[in-house]
């Protein structure tokens, strides 16, 4: 610790940090632009100038940049000294020379860091009396708008995009006063994390194009803390609404999960909530046609059907909340409730759950994963299956090289010199996948192999680490060499991390990863193990049942109730069709009309993540709460609320009651209650408002219809109000609905919510871990080392190819994301194709059971031979249960 004096006040702070970070952590206001807690200091903008005094007798001092100043014991500085203040105002004046001052029409308006900093420095009158510079803007694709004239050249965009996210198509060009941040030419920003530019940019150069399509002023948004439903990672988001439509997603800082950044699927994949295909009212099928019916009527008929049904089955969903799944399970009975996923997928998730719950290995959070120094990815194309984790692992790949800078006494926050010492060095970082993935670019060694061979490699690494483990017979020389190198790196690591997942649909891969982690654990208890699973609540669903859709399809129920699930995407369409044929009556709760809703007798409008409240469990077993953003003026509501109405639970049965019942039925889930405060929580006597205190025009909204103010809706399910009334100070972290603090209106206000900038939130990082590796699982059965993969002459092994844009059902229905979906095609190794006389671009046909799938062929030289890559989750390939063997028919 160090004692320092800031404006003659004494503070105890951590020695060695930079002064800006320390000032902000102390809650002091000091202006800055180029510094970012996740990207550290470069000292470019010169905004954080303070006076540094040699000792108490020094009255003059010297201007220094706080972000580049290492805190030392006895340090004396002044933020308030006249020259420091004049200098900082001067920086703003300089930055504003060419700024267009278009605040009234700027998309950043209302949450502009530049605006905040300008006000904070006190600069107001413009002395520059010459012409401004004008720059041309670029088209950057469907996600981001570009307005270069607003740029203040803080270099954050390129530092994030290139240095942090390893993007290649954004760069800084030209010199002097015409420095330009853009692409070499107009075109889509390719990096999967480009959306973060919207938040990284301190002003309105990079703004959210999806928001611009239905722009509203930021202070007129109604917002809630929520959880991204785009994959299994459970990134924390802020969802904002106005006039019944969702307007945008922002990152919601959670040190343990997503930190400051989201992937583009998560940020821009919300637009489906505003789709014309939304189910807004109950529908009933009469004479083969679905027609809207009255809610009371629908409920009455459904209740009657349930009461008369002797055999009702319920099919749950990995994208519905724990509460909704639980309520359906309770309604139909445990034995009649099935997870609406294939048995194959279900067993994989079940296995992962068991390893996470009963295993010995710590599963780090995504935030923690960034601090592991050696990584081995087993079988996952993370950029496409769990994108945000890929970004975390990119940071992990810098951990070991960064230590070199430490050896030269370069502080870890000195990004200029850390980067110089490290240069482009990464790793140790190993990736074993079926084909080249984006993360291969930073890997020490890449192994492309079939799933069984990937598993064998992992077992071989385990054997290298612990010779008592079985030898992998007949391993190729190449794989033996890789295994030895990986084993060596893992053993040399301070904190090794093994990452795998379910996306290859291979138990062998999952077990092999666990076996390896166990072997490593014997050497180093700091070993970490992360698995990714398919959907936002796959893990939660696995905690409720191990019955799966394949069994359900064998049933002939009198009543079938389906929860938020397009069953045709889950298993072979034939089976699903048969289930509908064999079901006497059917009810579905769903948010979007789809193939499955069309088959049901009744369709009830379920809220999407944006109109529901619930809990989901992420891949790491973290239960997290999301909230209904607004009260729709139609019949949409949380699925569990529909079921409560069907159950006639009455008006006083609310979300907390569902949770209470859930944890009574499932004591293992008792922490679900603690993921967020109960609905009766109050800050003092106040609720937490969904609207900002600057919300304008509440009484003017409906004035063309009526002048009286309507009574705002009540929310009995959360401690949040739907209005601007309530407590606007520091709220519990699970209830934080916006980034705001006095004087700080931009996303940078998050500094004020953290104990130390860049660290934990004041109230703790939200979410509760349900699975904590209790260690009861002594051994992973490593007897089942698979045989080496043998390509077959006539058939190929069909494996899923995952796409960040396209493979996830709901985000794919968002217009901006839809623009980024690639054409669906089969992937083949060109050598395989030549053997079969197939040229790139040819249309070929494969069959899955009795379904014929016809797509264009694309070549990929890295794909393991004997395999055909089939796009996962695309319309053409819905219902494929991977893996399966298929002939490739190239004849027309």
């Amino acid at each position: 610790m160090a004692t320092i004096y800031i404006d003659d006040k004494e503070y105890e702070v951590e020695e060695g940090k930079n002064l800006l970070e320390v000032c902000l952590s102390l809650g002091l206001d000091l202006e800055y632009f180029c510094w970012h807690p996740a990207m550290d200091s470069v000292g470019a903008c010169r905004q954080c100038g303070v006076i540094n005094y040699k000792d108490e007798n020094d009255t003059e001092g010297k201007l220094v940049m706080a972000c580049m100043q290492k805190v030392t014991d006895g340090m004396r500085v002044s933020i308030e000294a006249p020259w420091a203040k004049e200098f900082r105002a001067g920086i703003i004046e300089a930055l504003m020379i060419n700024h267009p001052h278009d605040c009234p029409v700027c998309d950043e308006g209302g949450e502009c860091h530049l605006q905040d900093m300008t006000i904070m420095t006190g600069h107001n009158y413009r002395r520059f009396d010459f012409n401004k510079l004008t720059l041309r803007d670029q088209y950057l694709g469907p996600f981001i708008d570009h307005e270069m004239n607003r740029c203040i050249q803080c270099y954050r965009c390129v530092r994030f995009y290139n240095d942090y996210a390893d993007g290649v198509d954004l760069s800084v060009r030209h010199i002097a006063s015409s420095v330009y941040f853009g692409r070499t030419q107009d075109g889509t920003l390719e990096n999967e994390f480009s959306g973060n530019l919207v938040e990284v940019c301190p002003t309105g150069v990079f703004t959210d194009k999806t928001l611009a399509k239905h722009y509203t002023r930021k202070w007129d948004l109604t917002s809630v803390p929520s959880i991204c439903h785009g994959c299994s990672l459970g990134c924390n988001i802020l969802v904002s609404e106005r006039y019944g439509s969702i307007r945008r997603i922002l990152d919601r800082y959670n040190e343990d999960v997503n930190g400051y950044f989201l992937c583009d699927r998560g940020r821009f994949g919300y637009e489906y909530t505003n789709s014309d295909y939304r189910v807004l009212y109950p529908f009933k099928k009469t004479g083969g046609k679905q027609e809207q019916i009255d809610k009371a009527e629908a409920l009455e008929e459904i209740k009657k059907t349930i009461n008369s049904s002797k055999h009702t089955i319920g099919i749950g969903s990995p994208r519905a909340s724990l509460e909704s799944n639980y309520m359906l399970q309770r309604l139909v009975g445990k034995e009649n409730f099935y997870a609406g996923i294939s048995e194959k997928e279900g067993k994989l998730v079940e296995r992962v759950k068991t390893i996470l719950r009963d295993g010995k290995i710590k599963t780090p959070s995504m935030g923690e994963a960034e601090h592991y120094d050696t990584v081995f990815i087993i079988g996952e194309d993370l950029t496409n299956t769990a994108p945000r984790l890929a970004l975390s692992l990119r940071q992990a790949s810098k951990v070991a090289p960064n230590k070199k800078a430490g050896a030269k006494d370069i502080p870890d926050w000195d990004n200029v010199h850390v980067r110089k010492v490290v240069q482009r060095e990464r790793g140790p970082f190993y990736v074993a996948t079926t084909h080249q993935t984006k993360l291969n670019g930073i890997a020490t060694d890449n192994i492309y192999a079939a799933p069984d061979d990937i598993a064998r490699l992992s077992y071989a690494v385990a054997h290298e680490i612990n010779n008592n483990l079985p030898v992998v017979e007949g391993l190729s020389k190449q794989l033996q060499k890789s295994a030895k190198a990986i084993a060596r790196s893992l053993q040399e690591a301070e904190k090794p991390l093994i990452v795998s997942g379910t996306s290859l649909y291979s138990e062998s891969v999952i077990d092999a990863a666990a076996s390896l982690a166990y072997a490593m654990y014997g050497k180093n208890e700091k070993t970490g193990l992360i698995y990714t699973v398919p959907e936002v609540n796959s893990m939660g669903l696995a905690m409720l049942t191990d019955n799966y859709l394949n069994e359900a399809c064998q049933e002939s129920p009198e009543l079938l109730i389906t929860l938020e699930n397009d069953l045709f995407r889950q298993v072979d369409c034939e089976k699903v069709t048969k289930l509908f044929e064999n079901s006497n009556k059917s009810v579905v709760l769903e948010s979007l009309h789809n193939a499955t809703t069309r088959e049901h007798d009744y369709v009830l409008p379920a809220g999407s993540f944006a109109e529901s409240t619930g809990t989901v469990v992420s891949n790491e077993g973290r239960a997290q709460r999301f909230y209904q953003t607004f009260k729709p003026d139609n019949e949409m509501q949380s699925s569990w609320a529909w079921i409560a109405e069907i159950e006639e639970k009455g008006e006083n049965y609310h979300f907390d009651d569902v949770v209470a019942d859930l944890i009574e039925a499932y004591p293992d889930l008792k922490l679900v209650k603690e993921t967020a405060p109960d609905a009766d929580y109050r800050k003092g006597t106040q609720k937490i408002p969904r609207q900002s205190h600057r919300f304008s025009g509440r009484t003017a909204i409906n004035t063309e219809k009526e002048v009286s103010e309507k009574k705002p809706p009540e929310d009995p399910d959360s401690p949040m109000s739907y209005t601007m009334e309530g407590f606007h100070g520091r709220t519990p972290s699970a209830l934080t609905a916006r980034n705001w603090a006095p004087r700080w209106n931009s996303v940078q206000a998050i500094n004020k919510q953290q104990i130390e900038v860049g660290g934990a939130l004041h109230d703790g990082n939200p979410g509760k871990r349900l699975l904590n590796a209790n260690g009861s699982l002594e051994n992973i059965n490593s007897e089942h080392i698979p045989e080496a993969f043998k390509p077959q002459e006539r058939k190929s092994l069909a494996l899923p190819m995952h796409y960040i844009y396209g493979s996830e059902e709901l985000s794919a229905k968002s217009p901006a994301v839809a623009e980024r979906i690639p054409e669906s095609c089969f992937i083949l190794n060109p050598e395989d194709a030549t053997d079969k006389d197939i040229a790139e671009g040819d249309q070929v046909e494969i069959d899955f059971n009795d379904n014929k799938i016809r797509l264009k062929v694309e070549f990929n030289e890295t794909l393991a031979k004997g395999i055909i890559g089939v796009p996962k989750g695309f319309e053409e390939t819905a219902g494929c249960e991977f893996p399966f063997w298929t002939e490739i028919n190239s004849k027309t």
Binding site: A44, L63, V64, G90, A94, I97, A176, D409, H417
Partner: protein
């Protein structure tokens, strides 16, 4: 008077070949150095009081001593010759490179031996085509003769040396921007500390010295630190110095003189005074980014301390002379235009401040100036003071401006009151 750096320059304009250089005592310094220990060489350089000739005047031996050496240190180390001479009014390195390239190369080899570096680069200004030719030829000769490459002079030293022609940016002369440029990155300076001696090229220990600095090294080793000290007429700093003069003097040129001669001696004895009908009004003593000196400073000793004591700097020692028929505002404008154009665009005060200064000076010259502009100019000189920006470009750019505002204030005011530049017809 000894002129070790220039006395062997050939009158026919061609550069000294290796043979010719050896005849003048060339590579004797290296030979001697290789018989000494690196520590002894370092001590000799320290004792010589050689101070960096690029403009900073930092003691060369001290700079070298910051490089981590010793057996535990296995890091690659680099020696870089900063030959990116782009300071306005400066042309001294060019002379050395075009006339006697081996002298610089030998200095670099000795320095590599001292800090145990194995790779070296000469970072050359793009426009110095003749120097490039001379260096290419000289490097080939040095390799062929075994002064470069493996096991130099059979004494176990390995050194590779490459010529790198820059693409022509003033900022590349800033040593850390030079390093970035050499790495293939944007030529943007780095913060200090750490200094290049600890984390330089590719993050490895690196020595960057000016051409003239390296050129002195062989002589120091060959003839000794005491001899070198005796060359100088300054208390603080040994050796000779290349002084130049440009502007409307009778005999513009460049001369090797003892460090610490007076400004008057350079201008009156070597530049032969002002051209007919003109009077000396002031000068920038060491390139475009130094403060003006005026008539009252003519007897200042041109060593590292002399100009500093009266608020200027020795800089590169190449003097730009201002006469009484040339507009000082126009002169400063022309400099600021250059500096604004050459800002790397990395830090705010420089990127935004310099173009503003340029625009104001242009307005003054065009008769559009107002009183407020002078206040802004004065603010900008404080705003871009040393330490406020990332590197010395902007503070350097402020030196002629702030001193012009001090010494030639009436000219600035006249531009405003007369709404024109009275020096123009």
């Amino acid at each position: 008077m000894e002129r070790p750096l220039t006395e062997h320059i050939k009158s026919d304009g061609t550069w000294l070949t290796l043979k010719e250089y050896e005849k003048t005592g060339g590579y004797q310094g290296l030979k001697k150095a290789l018989e000494m220990t690196p520590e002894e060489v370092l001590q000799e350089v320290k004792d010589s009081n050689l101070r960096g000739r690029g403009g900073g005047g930092f003691p060369t031996g001290l700079k070298w001593s910051f490089v981590p050496t010793g057996e535990d240190n296995t890091e690659t180390k680099y020696i870089i010759c900063n030959a990116d001479e782009m300071e306005p009014g400066t042309f001294k390195d060019r002379l050395l490179l075009e006339t006697n390239p081996h002298q610089v190369i030998e200095g670099m080899i000795i320095s590599a031996y001292t800090v145990q570096a194995n790779i070296s680069f000469i970072f050359l200004r793009w426009a110095y085509h003749r120097a490039a030719k001379a260096l290419e030829k000289a490097l080939q000769e040095a390799y062929d003769a075994g002064y470069l490459g493996k096991n130099i002079m059979k004494k176990g030293l390995d050194l590779e040396m490459q010529l790198h022609s820059s693409v022509g940016r003033y900022i590349c002369g800033e040593e850390t921007a030079l390093l970035n440029a050499l790495e293939g990155e944007r030529a943007v300076p780095r913060s200090k500390p750490p200094f290049p001696q600890v984390s330089g090229l590719f993050g490895k220990p690196t020595i960057v010295n000016n051409v003239e600095t390296f050129a002195n090294i062989p002589h120091i080793i060959h003839k000794g630190a005491q001899w070198f000290n005796d060359l100088s007429s300054s208390e603080k700093g040994g050796g000779t110095k290349l002084y130049g003069a440009s502007g409307r003097v009778k005999n513009p040129g460049i001369w090797e003189l003892p460090l610490g001669v007076t400004l008057r001696e350079i201008l009156e004895e070597h530049a032969n005074g002002m051209m007919e009908g003109l009077e000396f009004r002031g000068c920038l003593p060491g390139g475009g980014s130094t403060d003006f000196m005026t008539k009252e400073h003519l007897d200042v000793k041109m060593d590292f301390e002399g100009p500093e004591e009266i608020g200027s700097r020795l800089g590169t020692g190449t003097i730009i002379v201002l006469d009484d028929k040339t507009c000082p505002v126009g002169l400063v404008l022309s400099l600021e235009k250059f500096f604004a154009q050459e800002s790397c665009g990395w830090c705010t005060p420089c990127r935004e401040g310099l173009p503003w200064v340029e625009k104001i000076l242009r307005a003054l010259e065009d008769g559009r100036g107002i009183e407020k502009h002078l206040e802004i100019l004065s603010f900008q000189t404080r705003f871009m003071a040393p330490g406020n920006t990332y590197c010395a470009l902007a503070p350097g750019a402020m030196e002629p401006l702030q001193s012009a505002l001090k010494y030639f204030k009436e000219d600035f005011e006249a531009h405003i009151h007369n709404k024109k530049c009275s020096y123009k017809n």
